[in-house]
C-alpha cells in the first residue's frame, strides 16, 4: 500500500524543477543587462584612449622649441591650470551636456637620495571607483619648485592619471 502511493513524486519534482529553471532564466535575461567581461573592457578602452589622447595633446608644445603645457604645469606646480585644462579636454563633447569624468593625477620622481617617491598632483579624491590608469613620461627642466626633495637637473618624471566616470 505504501509502495504504490509514492508513484509520481520524482516526475512531479522534475517538471517543477524544469518550470522553475526556464522561468528564472527567462526573467533574468529579459529584465537585466548582463555585462560580460568583453563589454566592460570596451568602456575601459574608450576611457584609456581618451586619457592617452589628452596627455599627448597636453604634452605637445604649441611652438617649436618651447616647453609643453604639461611640462610647465609639473615644473611650476600649476595645479589649477592643469586641472582646468585636463577636465576641459576630458569632458568636452561635441554636443551638450558635458561628460562627467573625474581624475586623480600623481607624479613619480627620484628624490635627492635617488630613491623613488611620488606626490599627489591634482584631481578629485579617489575612492576605489572603477577606473583606468594612463601614464606619460614628462621631461622637465632644472629648477624644480614643485617638491622640495626632487633631485636637481633635467629629468623625466612619470605622470600617472586615474580616470573614472562619476
Amino acid at each position: 500500500m505504501v509502495d504504490e502511493s509514492c508513484g509520481q513524486i520524482y516526475t512531479i519534482e522534475g517538471v517543477a524543477a524544469a518550470i522553475l529553471m526556464v522561468t528564472t532564466t527567462y526573467l533574468v535575461l529579459s529584465t537585466t543587462i548582463i555585462l560580460t567581461p568583453g563589454e566592460t573592457h570596451i568602456t575601459d578602452m574608450q576611457l584609456e584612449q581618451l586619457g592617452y589622447d589628452a596627455l599627448a595633446v597636453l604634452d605637445t608644445p604649441s611652438e617649436y622649441g618651447t616647453q609643453s603645457r604639461l611640462s610647465d604645469y609639473i615644473q611650476n606646480n600649476k595645479k589649477i591650470e592643469f586641472n582646468q585644462y585636463l577636465l576641459q579636454l576630458l569632458n568636452t563633447r561635441t554636443d551638450l551636456p558635458y561628460d562627467t569624468l573625474s581624475y586623480n593625477a600623481s607624479v613619480f620622481y627620484r628624490n635627492s637620495t635617488d630613491s623613488l617617491n611620488y606626490y599627489s598632483f591634482s584631481g578629485s579624491q579617489y575612492y576605489r571607483q572603477n577606473s583606468v590608469k594612463v601614464t606619460r613620461w614628462v621631461g622637465i627642466p632644472d629648477a624644480v619648485s614643485a617638491v622640495s626633495d626632487m633631485r636637481s637637473g633635467d629629468q623625466t618624471v612619470l605622470l600617472e592619471v586615474l580616470i573614472w566616470r562619476d
Binding site: Y10, T11, I34, Q46, A56, V57, T60, L89
Partner: protein, 371 residues
C-alpha cells in the same frame, strides 16, 4: 501478526534490486532536458548581446583610428614636389573623387593626433562628398550599411565644426569613441623690410625665396615645419614705410606686380630657372589673396601702402605650378614695387625665408558614433 509486520519491514530494507523506478527516470529526464534547454538559451542570448555592441564599438574605434592616425590614401612623401593633385587625396575635387581611396586627417603617418587643416576642410566639403556612401566607403568599409555620425569640434580659435553622417538619437545605444586631436593651422613668414632698404640701387624688385630646405627643417619635425605644397603659405611683409622713397607722399609705397619663379636641379643640365610668372589679379586666381594694411584691396594694384602686405597662397596652390618632379624646387615670390616710391633692389634684397612665426596647433574633439 507482530512477526508478519517485522518480516515485511525486513523485506523492504533488504530490497537491493539494481533497477530504478520508471518514475525516477521520467523525472530525471525532464530535469535534464530542461537544464540543457536553459543552458543553450542562456549562452545563445549572451552571444547575441555581446556581438552587437562590441561590433559597433569596434567599428567606431576603427573609424576613429583611421581619421586621427592615418594620412589617408592617396598620399605622398613629405616634402615631395607635387605636380598632379590626384596623388594627394585632399586636393582631388568633385570630378575625380572616385580616386580618393580612404580618408585620413593626420598630416603624415608619423604624426598621429595632429590633423592637417586642408584635410579637415576637404573632408567636410559636402559639395565634393555629397552623399553618405562617399564617407561610408572611405572610412567605415564593409558591406554592412552602418549608420554613422562623426563630428569634429575645435575648442579654441575661429575654426568651425565639421559634421558628417546622419543625425543620431542621443537616447538610443550606439558604438562610440571620442578622440582629442590638434589641428595644425598655418604659420606666417614675417619679413621686416627695414632690413632690406636699399636706396642706392632701387629697381623696385623684392624677391622672397621659399627655400624648401629651410621649411623642411628635419630638426623641428613634421608638426612644426611648413610644407609649401600641402599647407597654406603666408608671407607678411611688414614695416613697409621703412623702404619708402617718397617723403612728400607720406611714405606710401605702390606695388605694381606680383609673380613667382622657381628653379630646380636637372642632373643632365644643372640648375634651371623658370619665371617670373605673373600671378593674375586675385579675382581670376583661385587660392591667392593679398591684404594691404590689414584690408583686402579693391583692385589688384596695391597703391598707397604704408604698413604691411600679407600674401596668402592656399594649400595646394603650387601644385601644377612647378612642372618638376622630385623634391628640390626653390620657389620665389617676386614683388615689383614702383621704383619711384620704394627703395628695394634685386641685387641685395633676396630674403632667405624660414618659419619665424610657427604654425599654431588648435585642440579639438572628434566623436564617432556608429549604429
Amino acid at each position: 501478526m507482530r512477526m508478519n509486520k517485522s518480516r515485511h519491514r525486513l523485506n523492504q530494507i533488504t530490497n537491493d534490486s539494481g533497477q530504478l523506478s520508471i518514475d525516477f527516470i521520467i523525472g530525471l529526464s525532464i530535469f535534464m532536458i530542461a537544464l540543457i534547454m536553459v543552458s543553450t538559451m542562456a549562452s545563445g542570448l549572451l552571444i547575441g548581446l555581446r556581438s552587437k555592441t562590441i561590433d559597433y564599438d569596434a567599428v567606431a574605434y576603427r573609424t576613429g583610428v583611421i581619421l586621427v592616425e592615418d594620412p589617408g590614401e592617396n598620399t605622398t612623401f613629405p616634402g615631395q614636389i607635387i605636380t598632379d593633385p590626384s596623388v594627394q587625396w585632399e586636393f582631388i575635387g568633385l570630378s575625380e573623387k572616385a580616386r580618393v581611396l580612404r580618408f585620413g586627417l593626420s598630416l603624415y603617418k608619423s604624426t598621429p593626433n595632429i590633423l592637417s587643416k586642408k584635410k579637415v576642410d576637404s573632408y567636410g566639403n559636402h559639395t565634393i562628398y555629397n552623399n553618405l556612401e562617399d564617407y561610408r566607403s572611405r572610412i567605415i568599409f564593409g558591406s554592412y550599411p552602418y549608420h554613422f555620425n562623426i563630428t569634429l569640434l575645435p575648442l579654441e580659435g575661429s575654426l568651425s565644426p565639421v559634421y558628417s553622417g546622419e543625425p543620431y538619437n542621443p537616447y538610443s545605444s550606439y558604438g562610440y569613441i571620442r578622440r582629442i586631436v590638434l589641428i595644425k593651422t598655418p604659420g606666417e613668414f614675417v619679413v621686416d623690410l627695414n632690413d632690406y632698404s636699399n636706396p642706392m640701387y632701387n629697381d623696385g624688385q623684392l624677391s622672397v625665396r621659399i627655400d624648401s630646405n629651410q621649411l623642411f627643417d628635419t630638426r623641428k619635425g613634421p608638426i612644426y615645419w611648413t610644407d609649401p605644397m600641402k599647407e597654406e603659405l603666408r608671407i607678411n611683409l611688414t614695416n613697409i614705410s621703412s623702404i619708402a622713397n617718397c617723403t612728400a607722399c607720406s611714405n606710401f609705397v605702390n606695388l605694381t606686380q606680383i609673380a613667382y619663379s622657381y628653379s630646380y636641379y636637372d642632373p643632365a643640365v644643372g640648375w634651371i630657372s623658370v619665371g617670373p610668372i605673373i600671378i593674375q589679379p586675385p579675382s581670376l586666381t583661385v587660392g591667392f589673396n593679398m591684404t594691404k594694411d590689414g584690408m583686402l584691396p579693391s583692385t589688384y594694384f596695391l597703391n598707397n601702402i604704408n604698413s604691411s602686405i600679407l600674401t596668402k597662397f592656399t594649400a595646394g596652390y603650387f601644385i601644377q605650378k612647378t612642372q618638376v618632379s622630385g623634391n628640390q624646387a626653390l620657389i620665389a615670390i617676386n614683388y615689383t614695387f614702383d621704383p619711384m616710391t620704394a627703395n628695394v633692389s634685386s641685387t641685395s634684397t633676396i630674403a632667405p625665408l624660414y618659419a619665424n612665426v610657427n604654425p599654431v596647433l588648435i585642440p579639438a574633439v572628434l566623436e564617432v558614433r556608429i549604429w
